[in-house]
Amino acid sequence: MSNPLMTKFNGIEFKNPVIPASGTFGFGREYEAFYDLNSLGGLCTKGLTLEARPGNNGMRLWETPAGLMNSIGLENPGMDAFIKNEWPHLKNLEAVTIINVGGKDESSYLEAIEKLNDLDVQLIELNISCPNVKAGGMAYGIKASMAEDITKKVVAVSKHPIMVKLSPNGESITDIAKACESAGATGLSLINTVQGMAIDYKKKKAVFDNLYAGLSGPAVKPIALRMAHQVCRAVNIPVMAMGGISDWQDALEFIMVGATCIQIGTVNFNHPKAAIEMIAGLEKYCHDEGLKNISEVRGII
């Protein structure tokens, strides 16, 4: 029998639609203790920037009801170190490695993207939606015109397909999605974290040095599902959806609203085997429902 989870994302083949999300999976190595990375459809690297970044000071994690706030601030080794130390390991994976690229201004995005031109990369995720860095990041993702502009420039310099990762914090997400589509994006991913705030009332202080931080996890799922539904209806390029997905049922819901693949973030932390259990669950669902391929239920809502 053929694999009912085989999924094509604008021509790129994924063995299944389950992909650990950027920033929640390191560069994959840590999860090799839990399962073979090749059982995944793909994986998404920690957000990379041109130069190494130390990330934010102060508290970086704060738990909320059914949610997690983070203020990592794109700590990463920089593109060169990634290419040297991590890529050799990743490039041999069967699972599709998606490289997540952030930036602080136009030139830092473009230079980082150019560095990837010599590698055999299948898909780049352009992060214009990180709420945790002051310059750049989310700023590009909250106005359609800015999103369009940066996407166009990145697409122009990149040899590889560009998937743009959208912010839930900006103006109408469908406007931004359409702008990225018309700028030449190969696909879209959403949602990045929702901007939130936490207070330590005993200390009479904000928890995070940056004041605001990004909320993820089950708390945001209803919001992410609505946005995925809106965006899938608004564009003709494929969508990778995420936000609070914890189990195969959640994953299926995002597929039912039209997502081609799904990414999983926070759940990797509290349930390190979440991805493979999700794959098994979706497989069983296809079997139980007699689906030749999961795509038969894609976008039915």
Binding site: G26, I72, E75
Partner: protein
């Protein structure tokens, strides 16, 4: 899932939990991520190994919030999820050992002391243990260590005397560990066990980063044990 053999309140809010555990070998100073709930709270809780012998794993924990309150309610016969052992743990040393613990920070020091004395029966292990009020598990330390000084309500670092034949290992409130780092002469190695809020516990989220003299380190994976000069200004 691990089976709970015992979960006992030693002092108000101070619990000792013992599990049946066969999986892996565990080193002093390592920790596990514990959870005994579905989605609320969301994250698992890092708890150090208080004691380990083949087949049996113990934790000593203080009830401070939601997660530890749920742990407290568990009974022998219940199960809970554990991931680990994680972290580097305390290094093996060939000097005598001086441990300095403050409050619940003594938790990882007991297995450290026991393991040290098992491997080095002829070396000395001394302990300073400080408590705000009711002390706990002091007899356990007294049964193992060559000398135990207990301080209740005072400042433990006022008591500490050391000598060049010892390596110091400390765990407790950061302010205490910094004070320890200050008073111990430079010629002595001091290892501190740090805390940080953790999501993954395995080095994937970068939530527990701490700044060190050698760049950012992950408390969960590169730590929780560090040389004092790496993490504190001394």
């Amino acid at each position: 899932m691990a089976l709970i053999l015992e979960n006992q309140e030693l002092q108000p809010g101070i619990m000792k939990m013992t599990l049946a555990y066969q999986e892996k070998n565990v080193r002093p100073g390592q920790f596990f991520m514990l959870r005994a709930w579905d989605k609320d709270p969301l994250l698992s809780r890092p708890i150090s190994v208080y004691d380990y012998q083949p087949g049996k794993l113990s934790f000593l924990y203080q009830v401070v919030g939601k997660g530890t309150a749920i742990l407290k309610e568990l009974r022998s016969g219940n199960e809970l999820e554990i991931q680990g052992p994680y972290g580097n743990g305390f290094p093996q040393i060939d000097t005598d050992l001086l441990i300095i613990g403050g409050g619940i920070g003594i938790a990882p020091l007991f297995y450290l002391a026991r393991d040290f004395k098992t491997k080095n029966p002829h070396k000395k292990c001394r302990a300073y243990l400080g408590f705000r009020d009711n002390p706990y598990v002091t007899e356990a330390f007294e049964a193992i260590c060559d000398e135990v000084v207990i301080n209740v309500g005072g400042i433990i670092t006022d008591d500490v005397k050391t000598n060049n034949s010892e390596t110091v290992m400390t765990c407790g409130p950061e302010i205490m560990m910094k004070a320890v780092s200050k008073i111990i002469p430079d010629s002595t190695n001091v290892y501190v066990s740090l805390e940080a809020h953790m999501a993954c516990g395995i080095g994937a989220c970068l939530g527990c980063s701490c700044q060190t003299k050698n760049g950012n380190k992950k408390v969960c994976k590169d730590g929780p044990v560090f040389l004092r000069e790496e993490v504190f200004d001394v």
